[in-house]
Symmetry: C2
Subunit: 696 residues, 2 copies
């Protein structure tokens, strides 16, 4: 619990100064301006008074318990004052000072050192290189931060890795007169972590929605755990930056190379029910809707307007985000038909036309709120000079204050003439947007959250498999970093119910001749040598061998090409008429493995039509993976082809997930291709690579 | 030329009234408030004075020439007053009145009638069911519109099909204190058209950028012609609504106009160099940048910031929009190294850090402006309480006023404290945004326009072909609506240099036996009956016939299946190792044909990986089509396969475009599949359908 940080009973400012441009001064000013509900103790050995507050030479000299200190002195002086703070029983130290991890090796050492000092005394470090925290709760009203956006109470809490982004988020709430609950920009995250802060916001009853800015997830598994818990109670909205080509881990297999840092983040957001946004504005505008409106019960919306064009924009935006225009019930249609002018359009969008006044516009909204087909409303209102717009706003405000369904409003007007219209509507809690697009996107985000909340808790069933046998195989390679021979890979997969195609491994031509007699042509011949990773590209795979002559010729050729490796060979029956898919797994660092699914070949490599999810996979998650690829209709049998067994595919993904989860030694698996046949005809892994890692 | 509309020397208001809520009153008020530079004549037979202006009973009684009238009387009274206006020599009549085409058949008749009356007198109708026009040129200053957003001079001109959207666009310029040049929302477009207005804006030297809102293109070919001309001189920015099926439906019910393909609009925008936006805000924010900044010379940008996070957001947004982070020249690096604090980051983005003042921030921008590697700048500036922010703003304003390269700014601050910072920077012409994303998107739009301006004029070369022969074939079907037999289709394609696979048409089994001897197995057998359109799905195509036995068996089977049609058959050599593509053409209504290209099969049908362009195709356009499909790497030989001859593919697209353009009788062509081989090995059309239409 971070109460000492966010609800300090007293604050000391180390580095307090009478220089109004210093951080030490600005923090005191912010605390005073926002009427902090506890004592403020400036610490400065050289001054007697700072801003009329008596100054102390050290925290240990303060005649009171100090919960929180703000430190903005030189980096090298921080350890000494922390010792003093620790001895004085300080609970949290916000370190504004820079010059730690972000400047390199020396700084990192210093950073570790200050955390050690703090922990010695049971004290926690916030930062270093951090802005600070704010809590608008009137019982506390702490602005222990050197930034400039004024604070007022609200129910949106913010945590931002970048102070500049955090400031942007606060700014735009401030600009429309909205308050916020708590704020934190945590700098280097040496001790108090983003995950702890999110958890704290999650437990705060007066936080209704959480906005998060992330650059890198320091502890992905921790985030997954916390976020999964919090999103059950309230929405977490995220902007994650660093989307473009950074942190790509160069690994040999497809699975590995497709996983970037950002993909992992996406999989975490998906699994934990976090809403990701790709612009700060979109996130803020959604947060504003969440802040005052109930979560929609379904995707069925209605749009009301008094001018056509913007409503069409709202339709485009809503439909492209997956929302549905509700069909008005006959009762609603009748009521509106009686209420509205004859030129009005009584369908969805409802066009009440520009001459509609409070009676018509308000009556329409009242009728629509009662319609069981409708679960949320978008109202577009341009202020016509020939209508009593304030009366319309009063009516909407009255309705909005009592409504049980979410209402989102777009008001097209000029502040200087109809500012009151906007204010009236906003005061009722109805969020007001400038653009039809923004309103639609905000509502779409709320609807998505409603769907997330209704997701059933994933049922994780343990599928029967021969774990003992798998352990035997894996243990043979204990402590090694290497690819396994294909025979072992296939045996391992078989143990987990992932059957491979009938395959024989041979070393000589005679052996090949003998074994091939037991198989049905056409056959496939493959090289089996650890050195040859991309077998196809290297000429290590020959397909369509239709008789023994073909087979032996291919053997001679391949044996010659790869003779330096003294290779073995694998001969398989060639499968036809199945759908080619690819599935894979990649171990995580401190987090469960990532499971990958896609159609084979160009669909994965060229079109990047791939889905990733974090293990463990529930049935619902496996199905969602399969249905989320763009090529899903191909699996279903596009163009009159036979459909592949997608239930079996889902089961195989779950089995793969189980295998990867059971054995953290498995670094990566790549089942490529897998052929899936029509229901009842099974599936076969045709080729697979598996790399184990030394867990040390 | 629409001078009489946009630069009227005098305006009469028909339906003028002393009721301040009436349109006739509001228009007079708007003209007066904006200091219209000509006389205003209220027309009302019942009043003597309206707003102190002497009132006339009819336009014909006005003792002066009247250029423009605004009409807001009952729809049925419009014809009579138009007769009077016509006789009085009025040039343009803005008809605000509704109750025309949009209400159905009767209204449409009335609408046609008023246009006839007008044309009889050489008068033009603007509307009906329209807002009006505005021109902020101080020499005219006409606000002949009943809307409420105040007007001030600027260089952005707006034309909006929806008045509500037009109002939104004006609103947001007004909100940040920007002016605009001309405005038009044209209602039913019975006479004066959107295309004419765009053309007029194009010729107006004081219009620097044009914003357009479109619901339906009434005259697509006209738009293409006008827009192509105008975009050479100045950017046209478009938001087109009705992107989704539901949106189109909403458009249809709103304006009463026909459903239109969004794809056609996209092809028109692409060909004419129009910039399409998917949100009003994105368009406005781009317009603001175009309004004051020069067009960037390349995609090489630099980002400067005094706080890290927002700069990373700018990087993400810019990179994902195809911009490039310029490498600073060594001279710049050296200069910044000397200028900036040691904690600053001298790369791209340049982080001058929060403590940078006017000297550091300004000096950095000056150095970067001189760097030949850099063609535009994004500046992110948060106002740190410990810096003289006004001084930074003054310096930036000074630099901005003189800069020859575009500068775009994000300022993170609160108006009430540092409003002057924003004002100073804006006054210099540097656009100021609230979000890093907005600034980046606006710059990306400018860079895209720069690239469009540099597109070479499409070279349309006439490829040699046997047009005579083609005429002969087409003429056989003159006046019919039907599919052509495959043999004729192939002959036609051959005449235009689109060679089909070796194909023989047979009617009997004996014929088949004889002809097949001249071909190389494997063969393909296909049904040839006009009634069977989707041959594959109906079982009318059998592949992989490896010898005569197979062939004859397939024949017997097919002959039996389709016996009711008394079909003919086509036998072809089966092609292997080529890349399967599909190309097609669809005739337009009053516009050149649309050419389609994609990879065959699921790539088109399931993944919708298809490109459309309007004929005629230049080499560059054909190449762009090919390179724009997501599956382009497949053509280039992904996964070690042989590349297809993309030059030949482009040539074939041009030939198809030429054929479709030469014969408007061709309603649609579908070459599917076409096999394209490695360079030097040609390409073959395997199957093709062609439908002619009766042009009447």
């Amino acid at each position: 619990m971070l109460d000492g940080l966010f609800k300090p009973r007293s604050v000391a400012i180390i580095g307090a100064s009478n220089n109004p441009l210093s951080i030490g001064h600005i923090v005191i000013q912010n605390l005073v301006d926002h009427n902090f509900q506890g004592p403020i103790y400036p610490i400065n050995p050289k001054s007697k008074y700072i801003k009329s507050f008596k100054t102390y030479a050290a925290v240990s000299e303060v005649p009171d318990e100090v919960d929180l200190v703000n430190i903005s002195i030189k980096n090298t002086l921080v350890p000494t004052v922390l010792e003093d703070c620790g001895k004085a029983g300080v609970k949290y130290a916000i370190v504004h000072t820079a010059g730690f991890k972000e400047v390199g090796e020396e700084g990192l050492k210093l950073e570790k050192h200050i955390v050690e000092i703090a922990h010695k005394y049971g004290m926690r470090i916030y930062g270093p290189n951090s802005q600070g925290i704010q809590n608008s709760d009137p019982a506390v009203s702490v602005y222990a931060n050197f930034t400039f956006v004024p604070m007022r109470p609200g129910n949106i809490s913010i945590v931002a890795q970048s102070g500049g982004v955090g400031e942007t988020l606060k700014l735009h709430l401030h600009r429309i007169g909205m308050g916020m609950r708590m704020y934190a920009s945590f700098g280097n995250e040496a001790d108090v972590s983003m995950n702890e802060i999110i958890d704290y916001y999650g437990q705060d009853d007066d936080t209704k929605v959480i906005m998060v800015h992330i650059e890198t997830l320091k502890d992905p598994a921790g985030f997954l755990e916390v976020a999964s818990r919090v999103t059950k109670k309230k929405p977490i909205l995220v902007v994650k930056t660093g989307r473009t080509k950074e942190g790509v881990k160069a690994v040999a297999s497809h699975t590995g190379s497709l996983i970037e840092q950002d993909t992992l983040a996406d999989a975490i957001f998906e699994k934990s029910g976090v809403l990701r946004f790709y612009s700060q504005q979109d996130m803020i505008e959604a947060a504003i809707a969440f802040s005052t409106q109930p979560v929609p019960q379904s995707e069925n919306i209605v749009i009301v307007t008094n001018t056509g064009g913007p409503a069409i924009i709202a339709v485009d935006e809503c439909i492209s985000k997956g929302l549905k225009l509700a069909q008005l019930s006959p009762e609603t249609g009748k009521a509106l038909g009686e209420l509205l002018f004859s030129e009005a359009i009584v369908s969805n969008p409802v066009d009440v036309i520009a001459t509609a006044g409070a009676k018509e516009y308000g009556g329409t909204v009242e009728a629509l709120l009662k319609d069981p087909n409708i679960d949320s409303l978008i109202l577009n209102f341009v202020t016509p000079p020939f209508v009593d717009c304030e009366a319309v706003a009063c009516k909407l405000a009255e309705i909005g204050a009592a409504a049980q369904k979410p209402i989102i409003c777009i008001i097209l007007t000029i502040e200087e003439r109809w500012g009151e219209v906007i204010r009236l509507v906003r005061q009722s809690g109805i969020p007001v947007y400038d653009f039809a697009e923004s309103a639609s996107k905000a509502l779409a985000a709320m609807i998505k959250y409603g769907q997330i909340q209704k997701r059933p808790t994933p049922e994780l069933k343990e599928l029967p498999c021969d774990k003992k046998k798998a352990e035997g195989i894996i243990s043979r390679y204990s402590g090694q970093d290497r690819f396994l021979p294909q025979a072992d890979v296939f045996e391992l997969l078989n143990a987990y119910g992932l059957p491979a195609v009938k395959t024989v491994r041979v070393e000589t031509k005679d052996e090949l001749k003998k074994e091939a007699q037991k198989l049905n042509y056409p056959l496939v011949l493959k090289i089996d040598a650890e050195e040859v990773v991309h077998k196809s590209d290297a000429g290590g795979v020959v397909l369509n061998l239709k008789d023994e002559t073909d087979l032996l010729a291919a053997f001679d050729n391949m044996a010659n090409t790869f003779k330096k490796y003294k290779p073995a060979f694998v001969v398989q029956e060639q499968l036809v008429e199945g759908k080619e898919i690819i599935m894979g797994a990649k171990a995580g660092e401190g987090i469960s493995p990532m499971i990958m699914f896609g159609l084979g070949g160009v669909f994965v490599e060229t079109l990047k039509d791939v889905q990733f999810r974090l293990a463990p996979l529930s049935q619902a998650e496996a199905n969602d993976m399969i249905q989320s690829i763009k090529g899903y209709p191909i699996l279903q049998g596009a163009r009159g082809e036979k459909p592949a067994d997608t239930d079996l595919t889902a089961e195989m993904l779950m089995r793969l997930s189980q295998l990867a989860s059971d054995f953290p030694e498995i670094d990566e698996m790549d089942l490529n291709p897998v052929f899936v046949f029509e229901k009842g005809n099974g599936a076969r892994v045709v080729d697979a690579r598996l790399k184990v890692r030394n867990l040390g």
